[in-house]
Point group: none
């Protein structure tokens, strides 16, 4: 992967994958923080993953907690974007929920945003903590309107939209559970998504006569 041969002369094209260093760092930090706790990831780990030195990481991010904060906010936005995109499609609400569920479960990392916050809370400044929480909140809030809309349209029963969203996400996390033998509850992410949304939908619609759903 290191040697490119047969390069034609002239200015090399601008390689898309040659990310600016700060993005590179953010990307690798993401990976690491997703899989390990705040404390388990050292700045050296990040640097090594990026093939740069620790000092370089510090050149772009003043402190570890700042790097973490940025990483987390980005993560929240990414989840939010991915989710909103699917929720904005022109399909029945239930189908859209299923699509989100599948996307969410196929990532296969635990997107437990609460854990990300709880983990690091002692190391973050008040501002940093708040910044992450706001991003998380925005993510949740942005999803609420879809439930509100569905309620308004009589598709689902009236429900506290915040609860709907949080309940939805937390139910999704059961799809990632692994027991001591690394076995999951469901046979596949798709199956998990299906069953979870099935169940969730029942809760949403129990009091509704829904001949079409």
């Amino acid at each position: 992967m290191e040697k490119q041969t047969n390069r034609s002369p002239g200015r090399p094209p601008h390689y898309k994958d040659k990310q600016p260093t700060d993005e590179l760092i953010l990307f690798n930090a993401s990976q690491l923080f997703l899989e390990n706790s705040y404390q388990d990831v050292s700045m050296d780990d990040v640097a090594k993953a990026c093939n740069v030195t620790k000092a370089s990481v510090y050149y772009y991010y003043k402190t570890k907690s700042e790097l973490y904060t940025e990483t987390m906010i980005r993560l929240m936005y990414r989840i939010q974007n991915m989710t909103l995109q699917l929720l904005n499609e022109d399909k029945p609400f239930r189908t859209r929920l299923l699509n989100v569920a599948e996307a969410y479960l196929k990532v296969s990392v635990d997107l437990d945003t609460e854990r990300f916050i709880h983990n690091a809370k002692n190391m973050l400044s008040k501002e940093q903590l708040t910044a992450i929480q706001k991003a998380e909140e925005a993510m949740y809030t942005s999803m609420e309107e879809f439930f509100q809309e569905a309620t308004d349209q009589g598709i689902i029963s009236p429900i506290n939209p915040a609860f709907a969203v949080h309940g939805y996400i937390s139910l999704l996390n059961t799809g990632n559970y692994k027991n001591a033998d690394k076995q999951t509850i469901f046979s596949s992410p798709q199956e998990a998504a299906k069953q979870i949304v099935d169940f969730f939908w029942k809760g949403l619609t129990k009091d509704i006569q829904d001949p079409q759903n």
Copy 2:
């Protein structure tokens, strides 16, 4: 946070009613580990919380990870016992679920067992990790039979019992969510319990004609 520990070495005089030190340590460690991540709690913190020296903690627990393991296993058992006790009462299933929910939410600490495991996984030996996971699993499994029973009695629709339990618990955790302004979704633990079980119950019984519920 600096406690003066000018006790001289050697066996302390025996006070009748004093809690045995190992239990004292376990108790305080519990508190600390519940509120902070594995890495954020130092053995010194534990020692100080107990008013003993670090060396004393090590007298009873060979390593930090061993202390953590014991703490977690105990925690799982406590949750399990509390839950089973409530689930074994002679009341309608739904009422029992509500009681568990209320008990669970009144503790007000996040009993997110997955987090406890994920957090420390890099610091635990394979055996320790498994031991904790087994305890967690036992906790979940012991609850499954109640859902099975309810299904058999036609009280709830057929459902994967493992999913039922995990979904139940994860829904409960939404009751502890606090946003950046420290506001919860529900106005009180009781209200949270009520709403959550309400919703959960709908999911369980959507396909049932239940004139009495």
Copy 3:
């Protein structure tokens, strides 16, 4: 091994191997200190080897350095006794040297008294250090007279007796050398003893016409 059956009535015979605890400790400490450095042997190690508690060890020996000192002095005496006994036999001097060499090499632990001292010197009080050194010195000195006697009898050339003894012992230690592959210089302790004494004897007698040796 714990249950003795069929014991005949009456006072049990005084088991020879039921050593008084202090001797038991000394014995086990000996073993440990012979094979490991002062620092590598903890008081707990000693206690465990004796099947008693650390506190019991302290009951008999005020400090670790005191235990070490006693152990070392005993060791020096044991070597001295063993050696003197063999040197006092009614055999040709060279034979007696050979016997000592064989005895010495068959123990197979490195009896490097200098190492024992050097190792622990920072942990011993001046008195303790001196005590051990005196015992070592006595051991060496007691052997010197035999070389003196041999010189007087014209069996060996005149030689500084202290040098003779130290040279003898240090040559013996080459018999215990093991390289990285755990191979020794000689094929067996006996062979080692033979070769070493052979060589040593040449040095002692080069200037002597010795028809009989």
Copy 4:
């Protein structure tokens, strides 16, 4: 022994003639390990001797045992070089042996390589132990050929060269012996060298008619 180390962090200004830090550490560690046992030298001691912080020592040497290993290997090489240089001079073999002896004894620290190994053996990894032993072995082996050569030339009697070398070195160590009153066997290093080589030579040549030696 408390040195004020109020240097601020970060890269220090570059002084031209300054010894590189890693060499500085190795040098000081050498001194310390030569005079004290592995366990008696703490990483802090090394750091203080170098006027740097412990963390700096760890910047260059990952563990204490690694530092020790490097130190020892270097030491073996230094001894080997010094020795080989003297043994390669164009002088009678006996003279060369004498020169080595004098050099060896003038250092006045006990170059007891076996002790260095025995001392630390419990703290070293298998690889580290072997590495040191290999260096020691190389040192010994490199000297053997000189004895072989002398044998081939009929200057000394046939002898196991490994034994010759080890015997030679171990005899030299008697020159460093100090009794409880810090008295040596010989009046000076030169005298020691002379007497020891004298004796050693007799052993080597007993069976040789050597009118010129």
